[in-house]
Protein backbone atom coordinates (compact mmCIF):
# COMPACT_ATOMS: atom_id res chain seq x y z
CA UNK A 1 0.00 0.00 0.00
CA UNK A 2 2.72 2.44 1.00
CA UNK A 3 4.73 1.35 -2.05
CA UNK A 4 1.84 2.32 -4.30
CA UNK A 5 1.48 5.81 -2.88
CA UNK A 6 5.19 6.50 -3.41
CA UNK A 7 5.39 4.91 -6.89
CA UNK A 8 5.54 6.80 -10.17
CA UNK A 9 2.18 5.33 -11.24
CA UNK A 10 0.49 7.17 -8.42
CA UNK A 11 2.28 10.44 -9.20
CA UNK A 12 1.32 10.17 -12.87
CA UNK A 13 -2.28 9.45 -11.91
CA UNK A 14 -2.42 12.55 -9.73
CA UNK A 15 -0.91 14.66 -12.53
CA UNK A 16 -3.51 13.31 -14.97
CA UNK A 17 -6.36 14.12 -12.59
CA UNK A 18 -5.06 17.65 -12.01
CA UNK A 19 -4.54 18.27 -15.75
CA UNK A 20 -7.98 16.96 -16.76
CA UNK A 21 -9.82 18.68 -13.92
CA UNK A 22 -8.03 21.97 -14.63
CA UNK A 23 -8.71 21.73 -18.35
CA UNK A 24 -12.39 20.99 -17.84
CA UNK A 25 -12.75 23.82 -15.32
CA UNK A 26 -11.16 26.25 -17.75
CA UNK A 27 -13.30 25.09 -20.65
CA UNK A 28 -16.41 25.45 -18.48
CA UNK A 29 -15.45 29.08 -17.88
CA UNK A 30 -14.59 29.62 -21.51
CA UNK A 31 -17.88 28.06 -22.57
CA UNK A 32 -19.88 30.84 -20.93
CA UNK A 33 -17.95 33.29 -23.11
CA UNK A 34 -18.39 31.13 -26.25
CA UNK A 35 -22.10 30.80 -25.61
CA UNK A 36 -22.62 34.54 -25.19
CA UNK A 37 -20.41 35.42 -28.15
CA UNK A 38 -21.91 32.89 -30.59
CA UNK A 39 -25.47 33.71 -29.55
CA UNK A 40 -24.73 37.40 -29.92
CA UNK A 41 -23.33 36.88 -33.44
CA UNK A 42 -26.39 34.84 -34.46
CA UNK A 43 -28.65 37.63 -33.21
CA UNK A 44 -26.43 40.28 -34.90
CA UNK A 45 -25.13 41.76 -31.65
CA UNK A 46 -21.45 42.20 -30.73
CA UNK A 47 -21.68 40.28 -27.44
CA UNK A 48 -19.17 40.88 -24.62
CA UNK A 49 -16.39 43.18 -25.83
CA UNK A 50 -15.27 45.31 -22.88
CA UNK A 51 -13.33 42.95 -20.58
CA UNK A 52 -10.06 41.89 -22.19
CA UNK A 53 -9.49 41.24 -25.93
CA UNK A 54 -12.78 40.17 -27.60
CA UNK A 55 -14.31 40.14 -24.11
CA UNK A 56 -12.28 37.01 -23.35
CA UNK A 57 -11.86 37.90 -19.68
CA UNK A 58 -15.62 38.15 -19.21
CA UNK A 59 -15.80 34.76 -17.40
CA UNK A 60 -13.23 36.05 -14.89
CA UNK A 61 -15.31 39.18 -14.30
CA UNK A 62 -18.45 37.05 -13.91
CA UNK A 63 -16.68 34.80 -11.44
CA UNK A 64 -15.57 37.74 -9.31
CA UNK A 65 -19.09 39.13 -9.41
CA UNK A 66 -20.57 35.82 -8.27
CA UNK A 67 -18.04 35.42 -5.46
CA UNK A 68 -18.73 38.87 -4.01
CA UNK A 69 -22.51 38.75 -4.33
CA UNK A 70 -24.66 38.25 -1.27
CA UNK A 71 -25.53 34.60 -0.72
CA UNK A 72 -29.26 34.59 0.02
CA UNK A 73 -30.93 31.58 1.61
CA UNK A 74 -34.73 31.98 1.67
CA UNK A 75 -36.08 31.97 5.23
CA UNK A 76 -38.61 29.22 4.47
CA UNK A 77 -36.10 27.03 2.63
CA UNK A 78 -34.84 23.70 3.85
CA UNK A 79 -31.31 24.86 4.69
CA UNK A 80 -29.51 21.52 4.55
CA UNK A 81 -30.89 20.42 1.19
CA UNK A 82 -30.75 23.95 -0.19
CA UNK A 83 -26.98 24.01 0.39
CA UNK A 84 -26.45 20.39 -0.67
CA UNK A 85 -28.31 20.61 -3.99
CA UNK A 86 -25.67 22.55 -6.01
CA UNK A 87 -22.99 20.10 -4.84
CA UNK A 88 -25.17 17.13 -5.75
CA UNK A 89 -25.48 18.42 -9.29
CA UNK A 90 -21.85 19.55 -9.62
CA UNK A 91 -20.03 16.43 -8.36
CA UNK A 92 -21.54 13.82 -10.75
CA UNK A 93 -21.04 16.23 -13.65
CA UNK A 94 -17.31 16.46 -12.97
CA UNK A 95 -16.88 12.79 -12.03
CA UNK A 96 -17.88 11.87 -15.59
CA UNK A 97 -14.50 13.06 -16.84
CA UNK A 98 -12.71 10.37 -14.81
CA UNK A 99 -13.52 7.82 -17.51
CA UNK A 100 -13.51 9.96 -20.67
CA UNK A 101 -10.55 9.04 -22.92
CA UNK A 102 -9.15 12.37 -24.12
CA UNK A 103 -6.27 10.63 -25.86
CA UNK A 104 -4.40 7.31 -25.89
CA UNK A 105 -2.41 8.39 -22.83
CA UNK A 106 -4.77 10.90 -21.24
CA UNK A 107 -7.50 9.06 -19.35
CA UNK A 108 -7.73 8.81 -15.57
CA UNK A 109 -9.10 5.27 -15.51
CA UNK A 110 -10.61 2.89 -18.03
CA UNK A 111 -13.46 1.00 -16.39
CA UNK A 112 -14.72 -2.17 -18.03
CA UNK A 113 -18.21 -0.69 -17.60
CA UNK A 114 -17.17 2.90 -18.40
CA UNK A 115 -20.23 3.76 -20.46
CA UNK A 116 -22.65 2.52 -17.80
CA UNK A 117 -20.68 4.47 -15.20
CA UNK A 118 -21.35 7.65 -17.17
CA UNK A 119 -25.06 6.82 -17.37
CA UNK A 120 -25.15 6.13 -13.64
CA UNK A 121 -23.68 9.57 -12.96
CA UNK A 122 -26.13 11.18 -15.39
CA UNK A 123 -29.02 9.55 -13.57
CA UNK A 124 -27.72 10.90 -10.23
CA UNK A 125 -27.54 14.41 -11.70
CA UNK A 126 -31.34 14.64 -11.55
CA UNK A 127 -31.21 14.89 -7.76
CA UNK A 128 -29.39 18.22 -7.80
CA UNK A 129 -32.21 19.81 -9.77
CA UNK A 130 -35.03 18.04 -7.94
CA UNK A 131 -33.67 18.81 -4.48
CA UNK A 132 -32.75 22.38 -5.40
CA UNK A 133 -36.29 23.02 -6.61
CA UNK A 134 -37.91 21.39 -3.63
CA UNK A 135 -35.64 22.84 -0.93
CA UNK A 136 -36.26 26.40 -2.14
CA UNK A 137 -39.84 25.99 -0.88
CA UNK A 138 -41.26 28.22 -3.56
CA UNK A 139 -43.74 27.66 -6.41
CA UNK A 140 -41.68 28.24 -9.51
CA UNK A 141 -38.62 26.24 -8.47
CA UNK A 142 -40.81 23.28 -7.50
CA UNK A 143 -42.60 23.35 -10.86
CA UNK A 144 -39.28 23.62 -12.67
CA UNK A 145 -37.84 20.73 -10.68
CA UNK A 146 -40.88 18.55 -11.41
CA UNK A 147 -40.74 19.27 -15.11
CA UNK A 148 -37.03 18.67 -15.18
CA UNK A 149 -37.22 15.34 -13.34
CA UNK A 150 -39.97 14.05 -15.64
CA UNK A 151 -38.05 15.23 -18.68
CA UNK A 152 -34.74 13.74 -17.61
CA UNK A 153 -36.28 10.36 -16.73
CA UNK A 154 -38.05 10.24 -20.09
CA UNK A 155 -35.08 11.20 -22.20
CA UNK A 156 -32.61 9.09 -20.24
CA UNK A 157 -34.41 6.06 -21.68
CA UNK A 158 -33.89 6.99 -25.31
CA UNK A 159 -30.36 8.23 -24.55
CA UNK A 160 -29.39 4.87 -23.06
CA UNK A 161 -31.21 2.80 -25.67
CA UNK A 162 -29.76 4.77 -28.60
CA UNK A 163 -26.30 3.68 -27.50
CA UNK A 164 -27.15 -0.04 -27.51
CA UNK A 165 -26.77 -0.23 -31.30
CA UNK A 166 -23.20 1.04 -31.02
CA UNK A 167 -22.47 -1.42 -28.24
CA UNK A 168 -23.76 -4.31 -30.36
CA UNK A 169 -21.24 -3.39 -33.06
CA UNK A 170 -18.30 -2.57 -30.79
CA UNK A 171 -18.98 -5.43 -28.35
CA UNK A 172 -17.58 -3.56 -25.35
CA UNK A 173 -18.59 -1.13 -22.62
CA UNK A 174 -15.14 0.35 -22.04
CA UNK A 175 -14.82 3.84 -23.54
CA UNK A 176 -11.20 3.25 -24.54
CA UNK A 177 -12.04 0.08 -26.45
CA UNK A 178 -14.98 1.88 -28.08
CA UNK A 179 -12.52 4.40 -29.50
CA UNK A 180 -10.08 1.68 -30.58
CA UNK A 181 -12.88 -0.20 -32.37
CA UNK A 182 -13.35 2.80 -34.69
CA UNK A 183 -9.69 3.03 -35.69
CA UNK A 184 -9.68 1.48 -39.18
CA UNK A 185 -10.90 3.01 -42.44
CA UNK A 186 -13.01 2.01 -45.43
CA UNK A 187 -11.33 2.22 -48.86
CA UNK A 188 -8.36 3.78 -47.13
CA UNK A 189 -9.83 7.23 -46.56
CA UNK A 190 -13.36 6.98 -45.08
CA UNK A 191 -12.95 6.66 -41.30
CA UNK A 192 -14.79 3.68 -39.79
CA UNK A 193 -16.81 5.82 -37.36
CA UNK A 194 -20.05 4.65 -35.84
CA UNK A 195 -21.91 7.69 -37.14
CA UNK A 196 -21.91 6.05 -40.59
CA UNK A 197 -23.06 2.68 -39.23
CA UNK A 198 -25.58 4.07 -36.75
CA UNK A 199 -26.99 7.33 -38.18
CA UNK A 200 -30.38 6.86 -36.47
CA UNK A 201 -28.77 6.21 -33.10
CA UNK A 202 -26.60 9.30 -33.59
CA UNK A 203 -29.59 11.57 -34.22
CA UNK A 204 -31.52 10.12 -31.27
CA UNK A 205 -28.46 10.49 -29.04
CA UNK A 206 -27.81 14.11 -29.98
CA UNK A 207 -31.46 15.11 -29.43
CA UNK A 208 -31.77 13.28 -26.10
CA UNK A 209 -28.41 14.73 -25.11
CA UNK A 210 -29.83 18.25 -25.42
CA UNK A 211 -32.84 17.25 -23.35
CA UNK A 212 -30.64 15.57 -20.76
CA UNK A 213 -28.63 18.76 -20.24
CA UNK A 214 -31.81 20.85 -19.95
CA UNK A 215 -30.87 23.22 -22.74
CA UNK A 216 -32.97 24.91 -25.38
CA UNK A 217 -35.20 23.74 -27.09
CA UNK A 218 -35.76 21.47 -24.08
CA UNK A 219 -35.11 23.93 -21.24
CA UNK A 220 -38.60 23.65 -19.79
CA UNK A 221 -37.07 23.33 -16.34
CA UNK A 222 -36.13 27.00 -16.35
CA UNK A 223 -38.28 28.45 -19.15
CA UNK A 224 -37.94 32.06 -18.09
CA UNK A 225 -41.22 33.30 -19.59
CA UNK A 226 -43.31 30.97 -17.42
CA UNK A 227 -41.20 30.04 -14.40
CA UNK A 228 -38.92 33.08 -13.81
CA UNK A 229 -35.78 30.88 -13.83
CA UNK A 230 -37.21 27.49 -12.94
CA UNK A 231 -35.49 25.38 -10.34
CA UNK A 232 -32.71 27.88 -9.54
CA UNK A 233 -34.93 30.93 -9.14
CA UNK A 234 -34.06 31.34 -5.44
CA UNK A 235 -30.36 30.65 -5.86
CA UNK A 236 -27.75 33.39 -5.89
CA UNK A 237 -24.01 33.93 -5.68
CA UNK A 238 -21.72 30.87 -5.66
CA UNK A 239 -24.56 28.35 -5.42
CA UNK A 240 -26.06 29.66 -8.64
CA UNK A 241 -22.61 29.59 -10.22
CA UNK A 242 -22.23 25.94 -9.20
CA UNK A 243 -25.48 25.08 -10.97
CA UNK A 244 -24.25 26.86 -14.09
CA UNK A 245 -20.90 25.07 -13.91
CA UNK A 246 -22.71 21.74 -13.62
CA UNK A 247 -24.78 22.58 -16.69
CA UNK A 248 -21.71 23.42 -18.78
CA UNK A 249 -19.78 20.41 -17.46
CA UNK A 250 -22.72 18.20 -18.44
CA UNK A 251 -22.74 19.79 -21.88
CA UNK A 252 -19.05 18.96 -22.34
CA UNK A 253 -19.62 15.45 -20.97
CA UNK A 254 -22.48 14.74 -23.39
CA UNK A 255 -20.38 16.09 -26.27
CA UNK A 256 -17.35 14.01 -25.23
CA UNK A 257 -19.48 10.89 -25.05
CA UNK A 258 -20.96 11.62 -28.48
CA UNK A 259 -17.40 11.98 -29.81
CA UNK A 260 -16.31 8.69 -28.24
CA UNK A 261 -19.39 6.77 -29.35
CA UNK A 262 -20.01 8.12 -32.85
CA UNK A 263 -17.10 10.22 -34.11
CA UNK A 264 -14.20 7.89 -33.38
CA UNK A 265 -12.90 9.63 -30.26
CA UNK A 266 -9.29 10.71 -30.64
CA UNK A 267 -8.85 8.98 -34.04
CA UNK A 268 -7.74 11.23 -36.89
CA UNK A 269 -4.96 11.72 -39.42
CA UNK A 270 -1.52 11.23 -37.85
CA UNK A 271 1.61 12.91 -39.20
CA UNK A 272 4.74 14.79 -38.21
CA UNK A 273 7.43 14.18 -35.60
CA UNK A 274 7.13 12.25 -32.35
CA UNK A 275 5.86 15.10 -30.15
CA UNK A 276 3.18 15.99 -32.68
CA UNK A 277 2.06 12.36 -32.83
CA UNK A 278 1.52 12.51 -29.07
CA UNK A 279 -0.41 15.77 -29.15
CA UNK A 280 -2.55 15.20 -32.27
CA UNK A 281 -5.09 12.73 -30.77
CA UNK A 282 -5.97 15.21 -28.07
CA UNK A 283 -6.29 17.96 -30.67
CA UNK A 284 -8.69 15.80 -32.72
CA UNK A 285 -10.69 14.93 -29.64
CA UNK A 286 -10.95 18.57 -28.58
CA UNK A 287 -11.91 19.60 -32.12
CA UNK A 288 -14.73 17.07 -32.30
CA UNK A 289 -16.04 18.00 -28.86
CA UNK A 290 -15.82 21.66 -29.87
CA UNK A 291 -17.94 20.89 -32.94
CA UNK A 292 -20.69 19.42 -30.77
CA UNK A 293 -20.55 22.27 -28.27
CA UNK A 294 -20.78 24.80 -31.10
CA UNK A 295 -23.77 22.90 -32.50
CA UNK A 296 -25.52 22.94 -29.13
CA UNK A 297 -24.95 26.67 -28.75
CA UNK A 298 -26.26 27.31 -32.26
CA UNK A 299 -29.29 25.20 -31.43
CA UNK A 300 -29.98 27.32 -28.38
CA UNK A 301 -29.88 30.55 -30.32
CA UNK A 302 -32.03 29.40 -33.26
CA UNK A 303 -34.80 27.08 -32.10
CA UNK A 304 -37.75 28.09 -29.89
CA UNK A 305 -38.79 26.08 -26.85
CA UNK A 306 -41.09 23.05 -27.02
CA UNK A 307 -44.40 23.02 -25.21
CA UNK A 308 -44.44 20.59 -22.29
CA UNK A 309 -46.90 18.09 -23.81
CA UNK A 310 -45.01 18.22 -27.13
CA UNK A 311 -41.81 17.43 -25.28
CA UNK A 312 -43.29 14.37 -23.57
CA UNK A 313 -44.98 13.14 -26.76
CA UNK A 314 -41.79 13.57 -28.74
CA UNK A 315 -39.76 11.66 -26.18
CA UNK A 316 -42.10 8.74 -25.67
CA UNK A 317 -43.75 8.44 -29.09
CA UNK A 318 -40.93 9.33 -31.47
CA UNK A 319 -37.48 8.94 -29.90
CA UNK A 320 -38.17 5.82 -27.82
CA UNK A 321 -39.76 3.73 -30.63
CA UNK A 322 -37.05 4.95 -33.00
CA UNK A 323 -34.24 3.79 -30.72
CA UNK A 324 -36.01 0.48 -30.05
CA UNK A 325 -36.42 -0.12 -33.79
CA UNK A 326 -32.76 0.73 -34.24
CA UNK A 327 -31.80 -1.93 -31.67
CA UNK A 328 -33.94 -4.59 -33.39
CA UNK A 329 -32.53 -3.84 -36.87
CA UNK A 330 -28.95 -3.65 -35.61
CA UNK A 331 -29.31 -6.94 -33.71
CA UNK A 332 -30.53 -8.65 -36.88
CA UNK A 333 -27.70 -7.28 -38.99
CA UNK A 334 -25.08 -8.16 -36.36
CA UNK A 335 -26.51 -11.67 -35.96
CA UNK A 336 -26.53 -12.31 -39.73
CA UNK A 337 -23.13 -10.76 -40.47
Amino acid sequence: MIEYFTSWDFVILIIKIVVIFGAVMNVVGLLSWIERKVMARVQMRPGPTRVGPFGLLQPMADLLKFVFKEDVIPSQANRFLYIAAPLVSLIPAFLTFSVVPFGPWLQVTDLSVGLLFVFALTSLGVYGIALGGWASNSKYPLMGAMRSSAQMISYELSLTLSVVGVLLIANTLSLRELVLSQQSTWLGFIPRWNIFLQPVAFVVYVISGVAETNRLPFDLAESEQELVAGWHTEYSSMKFLMFMMAEYANLIAVSSLATVLFLGGWNGPMFGPQWLQLALPIVWFAAKVGLFVFFYVLLRSTIPRFRYDQLMKFGWKVLLPLSLANIVVTSFVVAVA
Partner: protein
Protein backbone atom coordinates in the same frame (compact mmCIF):
# COMPACT_ATOMS: atom_id res chain seq x y z
CA UNK B 1 -6.44 -0.34 1.38
CA UNK B 2 -9.37 -2.51 0.28
CA UNK B 3 -10.13 -3.29 3.91
CA UNK B 4 -10.14 0.40 4.84
CA UNK B 5 -12.49 1.14 1.92
CA UNK B 6 -14.71 -1.77 2.92
CA UNK B 7 -15.15 -0.41 6.43
CA UNK B 8 -15.77 3.08 5.06
CA UNK B 9 -18.50 1.93 2.68
CA UNK B 10 -19.96 -0.50 5.21
CA UNK B 11 -20.13 2.20 7.88
CA UNK B 12 -21.83 4.61 5.47
CA UNK B 13 -24.28 1.91 4.36
CA UNK B 14 -25.22 0.86 7.89
CA UNK B 15 -25.42 4.45 9.11
CA UNK B 16 -27.63 5.47 6.20
CA UNK B 17 -29.82 2.39 6.66
CA UNK B 18 -30.40 3.26 10.31
CA UNK B 19 -31.06 6.85 9.30
CA UNK B 20 -33.82 5.67 6.94
CA UNK B 21 -35.70 4.32 9.96
CA UNK B 22 -34.85 7.07 12.42
CA UNK B 23 -35.68 10.12 10.31
CA UNK B 24 -39.05 11.74 10.93
CA UNK B 25 -39.25 13.35 7.51
CA UNK B 26 -40.08 10.98 4.65
CA UNK B 27 -37.85 12.81 2.18
CA UNK B 28 -34.81 12.47 4.43
CA UNK B 29 -35.55 8.75 4.73
CA UNK B 30 -35.66 8.42 0.94
CA UNK B 31 -32.42 10.38 0.56
CA UNK B 32 -30.71 8.20 3.17
CA UNK B 33 -31.84 5.17 1.21
CA UNK B 34 -30.11 6.63 -1.86
CA UNK B 35 -26.91 7.10 0.13
CA UNK B 36 -27.22 3.52 1.37
CA UNK B 37 -27.66 2.16 -2.16
CA UNK B 38 -24.67 4.12 -3.43
CA UNK B 39 -22.50 2.85 -0.57
CA UNK B 40 -23.66 -0.67 -1.41
CA UNK B 41 -22.49 -0.19 -4.99
CA UNK B 42 -19.10 0.79 -3.53
CA UNK B 43 -19.05 -2.58 -1.74
CA UNK B 44 -19.89 -4.30 -5.02
CA UNK B 45 -16.93 -2.61 -6.67
CA UNK B 46 -14.64 -3.90 -3.91
CA UNK B 47 -15.95 -7.39 -4.76
CA UNK B 48 -14.96 -6.76 -8.41
CA UNK B 49 -18.60 -6.82 -9.49
CA UNK B 50 -18.35 -3.56 -11.46
CA UNK B 51 -21.39 -4.28 -13.59
CA UNK B 52 -23.61 -4.98 -10.60
CA UNK B 53 -22.34 -1.85 -8.85
CA UNK B 54 -23.14 0.43 -11.79
CA UNK B 55 -26.51 -1.20 -12.44
CA UNK B 56 -27.35 -0.77 -8.76
CA UNK B 57 -26.84 2.98 -9.07
CA UNK B 58 -28.61 3.28 -12.44
CA UNK B 59 -31.68 1.22 -11.53
CA UNK B 60 -32.18 1.83 -7.81
CA UNK B 61 -30.52 5.14 -6.95
CA UNK B 62 -31.03 6.73 -10.36
CA UNK B 63 -34.44 5.53 -11.51
CA UNK B 64 -36.60 4.03 -8.78
CA UNK B 65 -35.58 6.42 -6.01
CA UNK B 66 -36.03 9.42 -8.31
CA UNK B 67 -39.68 8.45 -8.66
CA UNK B 68 -39.95 7.97 -4.88
CA UNK B 69 -38.53 11.41 -4.10
CA UNK B 70 -40.62 12.83 -6.92
CA UNK B 71 -43.85 11.56 -5.33
CA UNK B 72 -42.79 12.66 -1.84
CA UNK B 73 -42.00 16.15 -3.10
CA UNK B 74 -45.30 16.38 -4.95
CA UNK B 75 -47.38 15.31 -1.95
CA UNK B 76 -45.19 17.44 0.34
CA UNK B 77 -46.01 15.33 3.39
CA UNK B 78 -45.74 16.98 6.80
CA UNK B 79 -42.65 16.03 8.78
CA UNK B 80 -44.45 14.62 11.79
CA UNK B 81 -47.32 12.15 11.50
CA UNK B 82 -49.72 10.77 14.06
CA UNK B 83 -50.60 7.89 11.76
CA UNK B 84 -47.96 5.73 13.41
CA UNK B 85 -50.10 5.39 16.56
CA UNK B 86 -52.85 3.53 14.76
CA UNK B 87 -50.42 0.84 13.72
CA UNK B 88 -49.01 0.21 17.20
CA UNK B 89 -50.18 -3.43 17.22
CA UNK B 90 -47.95 -4.06 14.19
CA UNK B 91 -44.97 -3.81 16.53
CA UNK B 92 -45.88 -7.12 18.10
CA UNK B 93 -45.91 -8.85 14.72
CA UNK B 94 -43.00 -6.84 13.40
CA UNK B 95 -40.46 -7.87 16.02
CA UNK B 96 -40.87 -11.68 15.59
CA UNK B 97 -41.00 -11.31 11.79
CA UNK B 98 -37.84 -9.19 11.85
CA UNK B 99 -36.08 -11.74 14.02
CA UNK B 100 -37.22 -14.50 11.65
CA UNK B 101 -35.79 -12.59 8.67
CA UNK B 102 -32.53 -12.06 10.56
CA UNK B 103 -32.41 -15.79 11.30
CA UNK B 104 -32.99 -16.62 7.61
CA UNK B 105 -30.21 -14.25 6.52
CA UNK B 106 -27.75 -15.59 9.08
CA UNK B 107 -28.60 -19.18 8.13
CA UNK B 108 -28.04 -18.44 4.46
CA UNK B 109 -24.78 -16.60 5.00
CA UNK B 110 -23.59 -19.38 7.34
CA UNK B 111 -24.08 -22.01 4.64
CA UNK B 112 -22.26 -20.10 1.90
CA UNK B 113 -18.98 -21.76 0.93
CA UNK B 114 -16.25 -19.55 -0.55
CA UNK B 115 -15.88 -20.25 -4.28
CA UNK B 116 -12.40 -20.72 -5.65
CA UNK B 117 -12.63 -18.61 -8.78
CA UNK B 118 -11.49 -15.18 -9.84
CA UNK B 119 -14.15 -12.64 -9.00
CA UNK B 120 -13.60 -10.76 -12.26
CA UNK B 121 -14.85 -13.80 -14.17
CA UNK B 122 -18.22 -13.70 -12.40
CA UNK B 123 -18.67 -9.95 -12.21
CA UNK B 124 -17.88 -8.94 -15.79
CA UNK B 125 -20.74 -7.84 -18.07
CA UNK B 126 -19.95 -10.76 -20.43
CA UNK B 127 -20.22 -13.37 -17.66
CA UNK B 128 -23.45 -11.92 -16.29
CA UNK B 129 -24.94 -11.72 -19.80
CA UNK B 130 -24.01 -15.32 -20.54
CA UNK B 131 -25.53 -16.70 -17.35
CA UNK B 132 -28.65 -14.53 -17.71
CA UNK B 133 -29.34 -15.85 -21.22
CA UNK B 134 -28.45 -19.50 -20.58
CA UNK B 135 -28.88 -20.80 -17.00
CA UNK B 136 -31.32 -18.14 -15.86
CA UNK B 137 -33.23 -17.55 -19.09
CA UNK B 138 -36.62 -18.61 -17.72
CA UNK B 139 -36.51 -16.45 -14.54
CA UNK B 140 -35.20 -13.57 -16.66
CA UNK B 141 -38.05 -13.77 -19.16
CA UNK B 142 -40.59 -14.34 -16.37
CA UNK B 143 -39.37 -11.17 -14.64
CA UNK B 144 -39.72 -9.17 -17.83
CA UNK B 145 -43.29 -10.44 -18.19
CA UNK B 146 -44.00 -9.48 -14.58
CA UNK B 147 -42.73 -5.95 -15.15
CA UNK B 148 -44.82 -5.69 -18.32
CA UNK B 149 -47.93 -6.71 -16.36
CA UNK B 150 -47.18 -4.04 -13.75
CA UNK B 151 -46.76 -1.46 -16.52
CA UNK B 152 -50.05 -2.37 -18.19
CA UNK B 153 -51.75 -2.34 -14.79
CA UNK B 154 -50.43 1.14 -14.05
CA UNK B 155 -51.72 2.42 -17.39
CA UNK B 156 -55.16 0.87 -16.78
CA UNK B 157 -55.34 2.50 -13.33
CA UNK B 158 -54.26 5.88 -14.65
CA UNK B 159 -56.61 5.92 -17.65
CA UNK B 160 -60.01 4.48 -16.81
CA UNK B 161 -61.50 5.30 -20.23
CA UNK B 162 -59.16 3.77 -22.73
Amino acid sequence: MIQALFFLFAAVAVGAAINVLVQKHVLYSALSLIVMLTAMSGLFILLRADFLAVIQVIVYAGAIMVLFTFVIMLLNLPADEDGADRLRWLKFIGIPLGLFLLFLIIATVWNVKPVRTTAAMIGSPQAIGKSLFSDYLLPFEATSLLILIALVGAVVFAKKDL
